[in-house]
Point group: C2
Chain length 194, copies 2
DNA sequence: GCACGCATGTAATTGGTTACATGATTGC
DNA sequence: GCAATCATGTAACCAATTACATGCGTGC
């Protein structure tokens, strides 16, 4: 149930409307916890009935500005400190690797190098964010930077791994080819005798 | 729709029953694409009606042994080579980092060091698998090792990052404390004059 | 004969995605 | 007046989780 806590976390910084929250999700949380508009609005009504947030102000165009309640803050703190982060980790990119044996080594390498480039691109995007963002001296930016650093390190590791993996495929291919050659050589020695 | 392809991928290696597939999911795919029993059985019937797999043999206890069809292999190859790996990446562990500002720096550090230990534990588990697994000379094991290496590198990076992050919190705390001290010093110089 | 493992399935619920639907305000 | 942006919501669908339900076969 992390969407709930993502919303609480954003509202802990400042009151916001559903519309504002969507912008925040798209701007800063999209890569770690994407959410759709329906989800956010739905969660806000659920959180309101649960008493974890409240409508603090009504604005123009039916705007409802939500604020976190004391119960909401307690729940957020509880989640941060006492609940083990879990939830199954699905990783479609690595899943494919398991099955790369069904395509040719060349196709497998193409896939892996493609992955490397993808990782490089996300790394470049994150570096751009790091350079352009103004890191004011708030506590909040400390943790923003830490999260960003996570992305930077992970994408770097991913790129290195993918390039290494592509190399591995090459050497496995070579190994297999030399084995095959040796087998044919043996066969060649035997066949005239038959 | 990766569950579908995970099932196809496993059946590409060898025919299997739903029960067999569950064992394979729990043994080798649990960390990249966990699946429940209901999901696997459901997917198998869907795949059968779609003509991507077929019941190759009936065994005791109503056992149905499924085999991949030509259409299924084509679909698997297509997914591997022509479909961009995507699907939103959710990461509850990093999501929390964004909100660590709402708890004390000490609690934040505790959380981060906890994360480091978790990463170290998964790394240890993977190393154990690497040592105990018999890496036969099949092509399949080449890709199995590559996937394992991904896990090893990622958990190592994650551990390093978490330790670094905990340090960052320390220095941010120190920075803030010294600023506060300076502010109080300034105040101390001014207050007698007021 | 009984326990354990093999083997298959269904039902209810939650979380997430896509698409649709509607309307108010502001700035040009 | 009109376009862009602000703003909220619903409905249908798909994917995944949990829990339940059932029964056959093998080995002790």
């Amino acid at each position: 149930m992390s969407l709930r806590h993502a919303v609480l976390g954003l509202l802990a910084e400042a009151p916001a409307s559903g519309y504002d929250l969507m912008k925040l999700f798209n701007a800063s949380l999209s890569s770690v916890w994407p959410a759709t508009q329906s989800q956010v609005y739905g969660e806000l009504t659920k959180l309101t009935t649960a008493g974890l947030v409240e409508v603090a102000a009504h604005g123009p165009r039916g705007r409802k500005e939500y604020a976190i309640t004391d119960d909401g803050m307690a729940e957020l703190r509880h989640w941060l400190t006492e609940v083990e982060p879990s939830g199954p980790q699905r990783h479609a990119g690595v899943l494919r690797v398991f099955f790369l044996g069904v395509v040719t080594p060349l196709e497998a390498q193409t896939y892996l190098l493609h992955q490397a480039e993808r990782a490089a691109r996300t790394r470049a995007t994150l570096e751009h964010i790091e350079e352009t963002a103004e890191w004011d001296e708030e506590m909040i930016s400390v943790y923003g930077r830490i999260a960003l650093e996570y992305g930077l390190r992970m994408s770097a590791t991913q790129e290195e791994w993918a390039r290494w993996a592509a190399d591995e495929v090459t050497s496995a291919k070579a190994r297999k080819a030399s084995e095959l050659a040796r087998a044919q050589h043996e066969e060649g020695r035997q066949s005239p005798e038959e």
